[in-house]
């Protein structure tokens, strides 16, 4: 006969107000197998845990049922308490009488709620009688990390992990790391330029002995599980031998083909063989096959002929690199919502987005920092900045606030005024959101020192009239309609998940939210983790945030990984599926229902085999097994039917 102890928690009044805990404890003693039962105000408090520990020893218990809140909250707490008292932690079960009894049945009377609580405890005791003492499986950890995305988030994460002594594979889709930040002119609120503050980090990442950068590459496939991921990286053909090239730039200088530059968002031209910007890391050019004269006409071989290192290889093909990593960080960043989505705003070369204006203001940009109108390259006498262009606008764009536009528009207006002192800048806004260190003071400076005119209201329409752009809006503070003519309009366009991040999510089997941002495990308490163990998120891939927050989050994700890598073995959950090979006929039902690819039919013996490291313990295979060969440990067929029988007993 078992010696089981039942501990009923009051949870203050959360349970005790609805359930007669005293009666429950008294009645629980009558359940076969129960040797001890009591109740206590807060079981999860230290004295409550001590009570469990001491009773286990004193009463020589071989199992405990804690009747309290949901097991997602305190199962670990009490399993640890049981373990401290010398019990196998899997001989501790939680009977949830709060979320499943006292909370939903508050208005149905104390008596009935008490009966149901007792029933839940009875079910749990019956399950516990047949619970096995399980031992966690141990999984080895590959101490190497993969970082997807080489923006400031990916760079920071990679540097922190590498400084911790572990290898990092940093995969970037474009020819250079640096991301969106390196395109900016100056950064709020300190006005330091990314070319000065980000490049040292890029160089450190490029030269770090523990970081291997795969630029112009994509993650093709990810399989496996925490500590043991297998990844395939596709290094796209750049037609330049990355080993031979010394980055001298002669091919770029001599290239005869020029095309519109993506880095300058169409505001300047680059060669067909190029690095996106002068400080590129790695400083190895790539050939743009779509435009290169060799590939379009077959005539040109100038770069190959002048290259002193013989590094140009027109026959190069994509290369697949296979490696093993223990943890993955997704840092895929953002793109701006296309202006075309805002139908009331005319599609015009002088209606540009914030990133384009950053390039125009950038001292190393296409105009050396002089803001011009893209339509005719003259200096605008006035500029209208439109906040919330697509943000906070569920009809045309997205419902959320993009969080950085208020600040960067203030900064851009300020920089415009510094470049064109006699120009006028207007900012249309709904609310000014300046909630960061030094942010509010920065906005006040823009208003007071640089005389930027803030108009509270939305711009309803922008059109082209008599060579100028006409703005229709409303000043909601005075209630008057506002009509303005201006040379240039800068839209603070909504940030949306980076193009292609949905594909990354799919390959990693990660879920995204309704807008496509990577889904965190818990918004407040686990913002850096995904629902898949071993995969973390950093930067804007999770949601819009400024550089300060991106860097903090990136370091946070690195800290999580360093903690993971500090262990040689991980303990796996032993509550997983198990096959009785004597019974299994190898029908494969289990294999086909498994969402985690954890079950396979072994071809020689023709029986199902469970990979315990991959198994998430969902029980789908056990349900699908026609012969009962597949059983879920501690949720066996007998245990479940016993519980169902009690649950369906009449009161």
């Amino acid at each position: 006969m078992s010696r089981i102890g039942v501990f009923v928690c009051h949870c203050g009044l959360n349970i005790a107000k609805v359930v007669d805990v005293e009666k429950v404890a008294k009645e629980a003693l009558k359940i076969p197998g129960v040797a001890f039962a009591t109740h206590y105000m807060y079981m999860c408090a230290d004295p409550g845990q001590t009570l469990v520990e001491e009773t286990i020893k004193k009463e020589n218990l071989d199992g405990v049922v804690i009747a309290n809140c949901s097991p997602t909250l305190h199962e670990v707490t009490f399993r640890n308490a049981a373990k401290r008292a010398g019990l196998n932690p899997y001989r501790c079960e939680i009977a949830n009488i709060r979320e499943q009894c006292s909370w939903p049945h508050e208005h149905e009377g104390r008596e009935r709620a008490t009966e149901k609580a007792l029933k839940i405890i009875k079910m749990t005791v019956n399950k516990l009688v047949n619970d096995a003492s399980l031992v966690p499986t141990s999984i080895p950890v590959t101490k190497r990390a993969l970082v997807i995305g080489g923006g400031i988030a990916g760079i920071q994460t990679a540097l922190d992990i590498a400084d911790g002594g572990y290898e990092v594979l940093l995969v970037e889709e474009t020819p250079s790391i640096g991301g969106k930040m390196i395109q900016l002119s100056e950064t709020f609120p300190t006005l330091d330029c990314p070319q000065c503050i980000e490049t040292p980090k890029m160089v450190s990442a490029g030269q770090h002995p523990k970081i291997k950068i795969y630029a112009y590459s994509e993650v093709e496939e990810v399989t496996g599980y925490v500590g043991n991921f297998k990844v395939k990286i596709r290094e796209k053909a750049s037609y330049i031998d990355r080993e031979k090239c010394n980055g001298c730039g002669l091919c770029i200088e001599k290239c005869l083909t020029t095309v519109s530059s993506e880095f300058d968002l169409g505001l300047s031209r680059r060669k067909a063989v190029y690095t996106p910007f002068p400080q590129a890391v790695p400083n190895i050019p790539v050939i743009d096959r779509e435009h290169c004269g060799h590939f379009t006409t077959g005539l040109c071989r100038v770069c190959q002929s002048v290259c002193e290192k013989d590094a140009i290889d027109y026959s190069q093909e994509d290369r697949i690199i296979e490696d093993e990593v223990g943890a993955i960080v997704v840092a895929t960043g953002f793109d701006l919502m296309p202006n075309e989505k805002l139908k009331e705003y005319v599609s015009d070369p002088d209606v540009i987005n914030g990133l384009q204006f950053e390039r125009l203001l950038c001292p190393s940009g296409p105009t050396n920092g002089l803001p011009v109108r893209p339509s005719n390259w003259t200096v605008p006498k006035d500029v209208v900045f439109v906040s919330c262009a697509g943000s906070r606008d569920p009809e045309h764009g997205v419902a959320y606030c993009s969080r950085v536009c208020c600040m960067y528009l203030a900064k851009q207006a300020m920089l415009y005024k510094h470049a064109v002192p006699d120009g006028q800048a207007y900012i249309f806004y709904i609310d000014i959101r300046s909630n960061g260190k030094g942010y509010e003071e920065f906005v006040q400076r823009a208003k007071e020192e640089d005389n930027i005119i803030y108009i509270r209201g939305k711009v309803s329409k922008i059109s082209r009239e008599n060579g100028k752009l006409k703005i229709w809006g409303v000043d909601t503070l005075t209630g008057e309609l506002v009509e303005l003519s201006t040379d240039l309009v800068v839209l603070g366009t909504a940030m949306v998940p980076a193009v292609g991040s949905d594909e990354v999510a799919k390959r990693l089997r990660l879920s995204t939210d309704q807008f496509g941002w990577m889904q965190e495990a818990h918004l407040k308490l686990r913002p850096l983790e995904t629902m898949t163990a071993g995969i973390y998120i950093a930067g804007v891939s999770q949601f819009p945030k400024d550089i300060t927050d991106v860097v903090s989050q990136a370091s946070g994700a690195a800290a999580k990984i360093l903690a993971l890598f500090s262990q040689d073995y991980l303990l796996g959950n032993p509550v997983v599926a198990h096959v009785d090979e004597e019974i299994c006929a190898g029908c494969g039902n289990c294999e086909s229902v498994c969402a985690y690819s954890a079950v396979e039919i072994e071809p020689i013996r023709n029986v199902a085999v469970v990979n315990e490291a991959l198994c998430e313990g969902c029980g789908a295979c056990a349900g699908a097994c026609p012969s009962g060969a597949m059983q879920h440990k501690n949720f066996t067929k007998k245990q479940i039917f016993d519980m169902v029988e009690i649950a369906t007993e009449k009161y």
Binding site: C255, L256, T297, L299, R301, Q304, V306, N376, W377, T378
Partner: protein, 219 residues
């Protein structure tokens, strides 16, 4: 930054740059044949001719060579310019009636053949290939040779050149498709300039001079 006017539109331009560069940046169309943004302009084809106004004087200049000055007024599409370009195209068409590019351009500008004696040179002697070879590749393998109607683009002594590094840049930039790549050779009609880069590379242990000897013996 200075302001100029092209076809009635005020535009910004960088002091010292040419009218053609300022216009191209903003997508204002001016036809060209001998212009290439990678090399210095030469004004050989005259097709980019535009009318400029300075003070009370109107004059026709080549946009590819004429520098912008503050207040410069440029007209790219006047009757005078249209007529001039048509005339240029008629002459080019007479010289290179076999070139597809020339025929298309002539068609666009309303130029028809028949006025002048027709010739079948694809090369219009714009010299773009020579400028690329000199300025970009710095091989100096080709230049103009001969005078008057004998003038042509060729290697010294019209022999296959060992200065040519076989980059094919000349063929790539040639606006009329006169320079071609046939097998391992870069050619302008019957004249072989040199051997293509990849074939030169395979000739290890064998100097270019030896290849030249074999070729000349073969002839």
């Amino acid at each position: 930054m200075i302001e100029i006017e092209i076809d009635g539109k005020k535009i910004g331009a960088i002091e010292g740059e040419t009218v053609l560069r300022a216009a191209k940046r903003l997508g204002i169309k001016i036809p060209t044949l001998c212009y290439h943004e990678a090399v210095s302009p030469s004004g050989a084809c005259r097709l980019c001719s535009v009318e400029v106004q300075e003070g009370n004087r109107n004059k026709v200049v080549t946009a590819c060579l004429y520098p912008v000055r503050p207040g410069l007024v440029v007209k790219t599409d006047t009757e005078r310019i249209k007529k001039l370009r048509k005339g240029i195209m008629e002459l080019l068409l007479a010289r290179s009636s076999t070139s597809e590019t020339i025929r298309e351009l002539a068609n666009e500008m309303g130029a028809q053949g028949g006025k002048f004696l027709e010739d079948k040179n694809k090369c219009i002697l714009c010299g773009l290939c020579i400028r690329v070879c000199d300025e970009i590749v710095e091989a100096h393998a080709i230049s103009f040779v001969g005078r008057g109607i004998e003038k042509k683009v060729a290697t010294p002594f019209i022999e296959i050149s060992d200065a040519c590094i076989g980059c094919g840049g000349c063929a790539y930039v040639c606006p009329t498709g006169a320079i071609t790549i046939e097998g391992e050779f870069i050619k302008l009609e019957d004249n072989i300039f040199g051997k293509l880069n990849e074939f030169r590379k395979k000739d290890t242990g064998e100097t270019m001079k030896e290849i030249l000897k074999i070729d000349s013996e073969g002839q």
